[in-house]
Chain length 131, copies 6
């Protein structure tokens, strides 16, 4: 169903397979999900995205669960089906409870509503909000 | 510049003015921002949005700062200038540090990039991601 | 501020000026708005868009005001500042009352909220909704 | 396929079941569609959305069919598959004829095209369009 | 699964069938794809879109493959599943190599990321970028 | 107007200033545009984006002007004002003629229109378009 084949380990070249191995090791799983198998058709791009994702999602001033909630919010707003599923699953794996998920949905929905209202009304930005 | 006038306290009707007063009291400020002054042209809608916003953004399983970061992420992704400014300011007021902001931006940008790649490749959702 | 100059009647070529004249006549106004003056840099495209717009917005099974409300809803959802302003103004000119406008905003906001929730939850389409 | 289970009447708690009953009564149908069964995992949110939807979609200055057409337009523009299907079905149920539907699609498509052109050209808003 | 039936040649009326025949002749194929069969429910709209598409995608200052790459980029960014598939297939048919496709994806992803960053930061447009 | 100050060379730290110098050298200009001066508040992110942008936009299977046209198309579709201006200016600098620009706008507009129609109709993807 994808525009390029999802590459198995056998079909992937050495550079892509090395990324698959790294994903399995870092995530302590046997499973490499479809996004990576589709990206593997362009091994340097696969390597770049995987490398950057690890940097961005690492613990920092924000903890990994909070980052994952933000990732879900962006994915939903962009209407990305795959990403909504994969990052919702990742958030659950990182400890998102049903209560947290309910509140996440409520904030996403509220923001969508007020974004639409502010855009419809073309509300000018208050001077005090500017840096 | 808005499609309806921003109503001053004097121009607003009693129902809208009561909401303005409630905003000032709950937020402990003298300032009512433009979004509410534009919405005040339709007092019941103003009251409904303000009421709901307080419920959604109240402390719960997620803390108010995390909710605000999610609000910023949705507002940016929807391309809402007003909301991006107002919720970034709100996040700063709730304690968002420069380090947190840098990480928030990095997650938003990374999600936008991978959302685009997953959509372009039309990656099918892995069975294991489904509930 | 536009990426191409807004062409005055003098700066526009004959094909573009003929469209300007037709706009003034059909709309019974002396004013040609900026969208057309920007499009005039590509006269055949200007003529095509103006021609098509008249067909689409003409009275039919839906009346012109309803079409204009739909146009506003799409423009807001696409985050188009220019179009939100111009079509809100057009809707007012065609008879949109403050009550209608309040209800239009409420529907746009509600739809934005439930769109986000349905996407977040990845709700499968009910069989009965399919043609 | 959804991120949370679609709750049957038996699986839903009392608060959610009361909303299901209210939906059946108000809509005079035995059928509760998937959106509500997914939302039922968070009963207060289910109740809030259902309550608000009834207020927003009730007859007013705009009739229910016009509101439904606007709902379709927003849902399409947001790329929401579920909502496009459910609100197109609702519009048909409220009397949308094939002619109306053809005109609705034409306006949505035209608006999408001119929104893109106005954004590409960054056309500045005419002074006269501002409130 | 579509909101209107996909019309076979037999089910389509004479005006729609004439467009189907023209598609087959111009594209030198026996196949008429689903988009046209859905649009055929509104024959004048089918004819208008097909006519305009030929004008827009014809060789000009930009060659047809470049136009098709741009079409893919817009379709991906709008989150249109159908259009992403159909225009990616069209680009392959017009000579898009795997290397070109990899670079197209990289540009789309990079643009999505920097668009999000510029919007999040609300960067003011440099004077020198204005026409 | 941005959410963070635009950093001058003096205000930027050494890592950010090194990127500014690299931008000036690679682009053979004295001018560093606002996007980089805003990103400079987070020097590692500035360095990462600048580095990646050079890789992505370098001549390859697609030439730099074609990549820039694609960048404009994505930026317009995402509704990013800054990016639309900056990449339209970049495309002009790389040789985009008025004829090319007119055709770019026509493709973007056409794609926006047909994306909306395909989504509204929920057209199922033809089997032959799948990889």
């Amino acid at each position: 169903m994808s525009t390029l084949p999802l590459l198995s380990d056998e079909a992937a070249d050495a550079e892509a397979r090395a990324v698959f191995d790294d994903i399995r090791e870092k995530r302590q799983t046997d499973y490499v999900n479809n996004f990576w198998r589709a990206l593997a058709n362009d091994p340097p791009q696969l390597a770049q995205v995987w490398e950057r994702l690890q940097q961005v999602m690492a613990p920092g001033a924000l903890d990994p669960l909070v980052k994952e909630l933000i990732y879900v919010a962006v994915s939903v707003t962009n209407g990305c089906e795959y990403c909504t599923h994969s990052h919702t699953a990742a958030a659950k794996a990182k400890g998102m409870t049903p209560e947290m998920y309910g509140e996440l949905l409520a904030v996403i929905g509220m923001a969508a509503q007020t974004n639409a209202l502010a855009t419809a009304l073309q509300v000018p930005t208050d001077e005090r909000f500017k840096a």
